[in-house]
């Protein structure tokens, strides 16, 4: 039953996607749009295959940067969110500024980052951190702050220390938010790394993208864009899998929902 539903659920978007691709192919075939302005899907697939090994090499670099940046973001977000939850003064002082930092056009900072941090991975990782840190922190903080007051009263009534309240109530309560924040962040992370690479570097999808663009290979450029999308989706899927592992009680809740 459930499996069947899964299949039909995927049928609609797949059909729509194929339909869109078909239209795209037809538009380019018809010559309505010149090829150099819009390569056809088949051109793009061909470019993807022919430059596959290059793409993979560059993807490895971008992924390394994305993961490093994500890792740092997560650790930072945990520390800051914990401190902000623990110390009200800190929350009051830092939270409004955090919100403000979100309006900083990170991409605009990229040239400065290169100037400050040099040409290696550091500025790229930094840009990823700047992009991902905020949603992670807000998600975690939301989880901590939304913990049930009554549950915490209960914990206090049974004599729990502060860290025990974090251990048993606040951290588990923050997990769902953490994972949805993470899902957003993984796709930001890759895109962040790519944008940072535009600013210079020897390898990475952003560098490759600049190169193929400068040699007017739009088919390869589209191939890179598609690779980025695929990588983002794969990573989001991975987060989904980890999420299910980390929160086994969610199965129970979902089953309950299906039943009702």
């Amino acid at each position: 039953m459930k499996k069947l539903q899964n299949i039909t659920n995927k049928l609609y978007p797949t059909a729509l996607l194929l339909f869109l691709l078909l239209i795209w192919q037809m538009v380019t075939e018809s010559g309505l749009v010149p090829k150099f302005m819009l390569p056809s899907p088949i051109d793009v697939i061909r470019a993807f295959i022919s430059s596959f090994s290059e793409l993979m090499q560059h993807a490895a670099v971008s992924l390394t940067e994305a993961f490093a940046g994500l890792g740092i973001s997560i650790i930072l977000a945990f520390c800051i969110a914990l401190l902000m939850d623990r110390f009200e003064v800190l929350y009051k002082a830092v939270h409004p500024l955090l919100v403000v930092t979100q309006t900083i056009p990170t991409v605009a900072l990229a040239p400065l980052l290169v100037l400050w941090l040099g040409y290696d991975m550091a500025p790229k990782i930094m840009l990823v951190v700047l992009t991902c840190f905020f949603p992670m922190t807000i998600a975690l903080l939301g989880g901590f702050k939304s913990s049930d007051d009554d549950a915490m009263n209960l914990m206090r009534a049974i004599g729990a220390r502060r860290w025990q309240i974090y251990r048993y109530i606040k951290l588990p309560n923050a997990l769902p938010g953490f994972f949805s924040g993470l899902k957003i962040s993984v796709s930001y992370a890759i895109v962040g790394a790519v944008i940072a690479e535009w600013l210079g570097g020897n390898s990475g999808l952003g560098v490759y993208m600049t190169r193929v663009r400068k040699s007017f290979a739009f088919d390869k450029m589209f191939a890179v864009i598609f690779l980025i999308i695929i990588l983002s989706l794969l990573l989001m899927k991975c987060v989904g899998v980890i999420e299910r592992r980390a929160m086994p009680w969610r199965h129970a809740e979902e089953e309950k929902e299906v039943k009702n």
């Binding site: 009263n153 009534a157 049974i158 004599g159 048993y168 929160m247 809740e253």
Partner: protein
């Protein structure tokens, strides 16, 4: 009067300058079940929070076995209106939580909790998550958690009010039977007059605002109290009295 386990003297508490409860004096004897009855917002939960040591009173003191425990958490068991089962822990871990907190080794804590599962009608649920239990089972699990924290004195804040009438009746029966077997002194908050009469040795009626103890009624019908008690003359007498006192 039996040995006094718990006593609250002259408790007052203000929130944002407003007096919520005023000069509350209550006692709880050994193995007694005493109910606190009053309308919503009168300050019942506030009083419990003070007794449980989660909230500091503005005036007054709380004594447990004659010792001043004012403002000290972790001395008496406390069960709130919501069952407060943590969705991310199995039923067994939820129930063992007070033991974990107290620093008992996890395996030992679980074993100790498990040994009471039959008595509390929870066999077979240990590996489940709270969401997989019925309302009645969750309340029994919360009750067991409360019991495990301290067999001595427990505070129950509307433990059954989230249940539907039929389940609630079943829980009353089960609870009365349990009381025959275990020793526990309990202070009970409820909105439900029938429930207060059925379960209690004494009933404090709170009126206000500010919340004060307006009256104390002793329910001296002997236990066990069966279903027929609910429709007996004595029951009706108590109910009439309480309704009068509440609307005074």
């Amino acid at each position: 009067m039996k040995l006094i386990k718990l006593e609250a003297q002259n408790i007052s508490k203000r929130f944002a300058g407003e007096l919520v409860i005023k000069d509350i004096n209550i006692r709880l004897g050994e193995n007694e079940l005493v109910s606190l009855l009053g309308v919503s917002g009168i300050g019942k939960s506030t009083l419990f929070n003070v007794i449980a040591g989660v909230l500091a009173p503005d005036t007054g003191q709380v004594f447990l076995n004659g010792e001043d425990i004012t403002g000290q958490a972790g001395k008496v068991s406390y069960m709130q209106q919501k069952d407060l089962m943590q969705p991310h822990m199995t039923v067994l871990d939820n129930i063992s939580l007070p033991l974990f907190i107290r620093g008992v080794n996890k395996r030992q804590a679980r074993a100790q909790a498990l040994s009471h599962f039959r008595e509390f009608g929870l066999e077979g649920t240990q590996k489940k998550y709270p969401i997989q239990l019925s309302g009645g089972m969750r309340q029994r699990a919360a009750l067991l958690r409360t019991y495990l924290f301290s067999q001595d004195v427990a505070l129950f804040d509307e433990p059954f009010s989230a249940l539907d009438a039929i389940t609630k009746t079943a829980m009353h029966r089960w609870y009365l039977a349990l009381m025959e077997r275990i020793n526990m002194s309990a202070l009970f908050i409820t909105h439900d007059i029938d429930e207060a009469i059925l379960l209690s040795d004494r009933v404090y009626v709170m009126t206000g605002p500010p919340g004060v103890i307006a009256h104390e009624i002793v329910i001296d019908t002997p236990r066990p109290r069966g279903d027929e008690f609910l429709v007996s003359d004595a029951f009706i007498g108590y109910k009439r009295e309480i309704i009068k006192r509440l609307s005074a």
